[in-house]
Subunit: 304 residues, 4 copies
């Protein structure tokens, strides 16, 4: 079944060998681990998947491997992340060939851009490749926010099948949900720590980075919210929020992304899912004390 | 002669046909126009060259065409603009094969990054491809500023041959110039409107976008500054600053980049250098009144 | 009863005569209207009360009038909003003399400041005037966010009795609530549109600007949340969110604050509570069409 | 002679006793020191004068003391820094009574504001108190930039006599100078480190914070620029820029303003001008090692 209909869709980490090559067996184990845990889809080559670090051929190979493991059991969403329309379309074509069930594209970045240009951007991508298109709202990376009225316009005319909201702006999410209520648009929250609030507002699904490490926790949270059991949802969120603090293990000696991706991967090594916690250049690797701290976080969360 | 030693090095526009294909004859005429005007180098696939909009094969073909016209008369610098180290290195290898004399790379973007990761980024690029490396400081596009001490460290150890400063931060430029005085680093100002101030501070060269349209003006400005004739430099800058106001012709109905690139290209059409002012998707094209306004700006500047 | 123990505490508008003098009878009617509606406290000379526009003597007179009407029925909180510690302390002394039951102070502003200076700031205010102290976190006005660990430190040692969170950052609010769980700190959300989420996270009260116009709605929302009736709370929030759109009536021809304060006051005129919708200089007044639009919003919300 | 006609007008530090009272004898010595050094005016209760920290009565007393020392030899400019129009007007009246020759006011702050409201703000201040009015453009403190067209409009109609530009935006300064060329507006640069560039662009004067410590240096810079001797101006600027690095002595353990004001005052103690380097609450004081570092900076600059 490969429909986009909400649920938990983790942004899959991309395991690397110590030589920084794609580690295919680890990736296969990770995909299988997440599907077995009941995830409703897999989001490949997203920000958590180090998409910004992967050369094209690695991006497409990663997608191929995960699509092979998924084998139609759950939809595979492919991040087609690049600066502007023509470059995104090139990725979209390659992603389709590599087995993607849906495409995830941001607003343009690097090039100074403007909301008046967003509809043309998404419409051109949708017209070029016939797959469901998901808008990825991530102002911290692209420097602009997708306005609710633009999302609503593109939902109404069928350009967008879904929105992944990683803006952290719950007021904006509430506005989008109200403006698209009569459409088929599915909204996914990209927040690890406010997932319960996103679902409370009516979001249909979650895309939590640390869902790589604790998919079962996000599934419990999602299912509790579905049955309106808000006490359980909130309690699970609190537990997951504490676990998420592992992203700070690297402290000020590195960027927060180096620390977060390093910690997710170290967590997957600790849980026996992948072989190496190697991250891409120029990220700073965790040291032994930091790796130990990741394991303490997992132990406290009952994951070891 | 292909040494990087200051002077005026315009970021070459990338002419497109109305069907948005690379317009090779126009590009050849533009490269020849700029070389004939006395430019000291050509910067291909930079921000003004719509690098963020060009698929890989168009990027490399553009470079090949310009390198063919330059034929060693002036150095050809290639923008290898992408999100992080591994992707930049892929472009760097292709650029070398296509005839680049030097490479221009920014700090990482899209991926949340950090100054602690910048030295590793530039060193890995320099180590992978043996061409002079120019750091491109453009916070408005990448979201972070290259700290002066990082530039100085990378100038001192030979990683960087030059800096292109498009930060607009003259205090930062002054700091870099002081910190790299004893090194071979060449500093280029990317400002169209404060070029005289950059040279006054000791910058070695200019990379003005509107130098596509009026290369002779920037050459006069540069030469006046070289002989410390500041009255002439300032007067020329004032004239060029008025011309530069053409970037606003598109007004609020489009992004400033749509307006600026559209206006540069329209100016090149008006001057008979290229055939079409077409810009890449999803940029908004200028309308007839706006195109007329561009021509008025050129007429007032004595360029028609 | 004048204890700070959560509930709805609207930031009281400051009615002005058409000559921009304090309109005491209108202020008295407004205070009585809010107390009759069941508000748990009144916050005088806050941002909604145009504190930044009121000369000192008007600030203190406003407080005196409201304290007179409250007469101990509900606590009266006084905003002591100024740039740094010595100036805030001067207001705090005057506010105490004018009848305040508690003080509301922001982090320093205008002067470039730093989190290392925040504890000293709040401790000096608390030491100078013996009234419960409420920290007001409003980054959009002061340019910095109160870090959760600073709030927790000042809650633990008794410096702070409460926090008014107008940051819009629910992740930060969640962090503060977790970090102060064992203290007596009361947290108030300053959001008009995410009040339900704030209470869901465990906030103890609300400080909604538009609570001047519809106090009964926020009381219903608050009481539903208290009994964990989240469907009712959310539905009421949706209705209030639609009403809140009246703050945009002024559109782009004025600042958003001119539009919002003008609309709140026009709504109070429409409901017969105050006499004139006059705002302070240099705010732009609403025109007739905009005032009519405010009334339509009220009619749609069932308030006329 | 008390005309505003350019030159060096330092923003005078406000000396405090160790008990944080105004130190009148030190203030008198400082004012005399600056006048003797040839300053063309004195700017009292500016940002460097800790205006944001001074209670009203200290602000006005400071002004009275300096006006008494100046005694008409040079104009005394008074910062009337507060959040919005009515509060600024209150200060303006008091400043006039205390002997100010001109008033310096910023755009509104704290209250969310908008460029459409700026003309009304400055016009109302000018109408209320008949003294020359200087607009103070300091986006880092007030959160908005004075647009060049607003400044030009207010220069053309006589509302503004001068502009103090502390925005660091030389492109903006160039634009203002071009737009006000036909008016009587005088432009002062507030930059310590780009003063030479400001004068190169045509600014009429300087307001350098560290001019408290080294007024003679800024006078030499100004006079070299007046006679178009740019080599001398730039060399003096380089020396002063090195001296200015003393503002960083406090490092990351305090805010940059604590460090800068502490260092200026320590420098004045070291030069024998004032008695104590005490700063206002909640600023963090320099420790002994940091004070020693300030003295080393002065020694290197030849000031001890």
């Amino acid at each position: 079944m490969t429909q986009l209909d909400g649920g938990v869709v983790p942004p899959v980490c991309t395991p690397l060998t110590p030589e920084r090559e794609l580690d295919v067996p680890s990736l296969e184990r990770l995909a299988a681990f997440l599907i077995d845990a009941g995830m409703h889809g897999l989001f490949v080559t997203g920000s958590t998947g180090e998409v910004a670090y992967l050369p094209d051929e690695v991006r497409y190979r990663t997608l191929e491997v995960v699509a092979g493991v998924a084998a139609g059991q759950v939809p595979v969403l492919a991040g087609v992340i690049d600066t502007t329309t023509p470059r995104v379309i090139a990725h979209a074509r390659a992603a389709r060939a590599a087995g993607a069930d849906a495409l995830v594209a941001t607003a343009p970045f690097y090039a100074p851009t403007h909301p008046t240009e967003f509809p043309g951007h998404f419409r051109a991508i949708r017209a070029a490749v016939d797959l469901p298109l998901i808008a990825y709202d991530i102002p911290s990376s692209v420097g602009s926010k997708l306005p609710a009225d633009v999302v609503a316009e593109l939902a109404a005319d069928g350009t967008l099948a879904a929105l992944k909201d990683s803006s952290g702006d719950l007021e904006g999410l509430r506005e989008v949900l109200a403006a698209t209520d009569a459409t088929a648009l599915r909204c996914y929250s990209g927040s690890e720590t406010l997932a319960d609030l996103g679902l409370f507002l009516g979001a249909h699904g979650l895309v939590p980075g640390i869902g790589n490490v604790d998919p079962h926790g996000y599934l419990r949270l999602y299912e509790a919210a579905r049955r309106q059991d808000w006490d359980t949802a909130r309690a699970e969120q609190t537990r997951l929020g504490r676990l998420f603090e592992l992203i700070r293990v690297g402290g000020p000696r590195m960027g927060r992304y180096s620390s977060a991706i390093g910690a997710f991967k170290e967590g997957l090594v600790a849980r026996g899912v992948i072989t190496s916690a190697t991250t891409s250049l120029p990220m700073v690797p965790l040291d032994d004390a930091e790796r130990e701290a990741v394991r303490r976080h997992l132990a406290e969360a009952g994951l070891l």
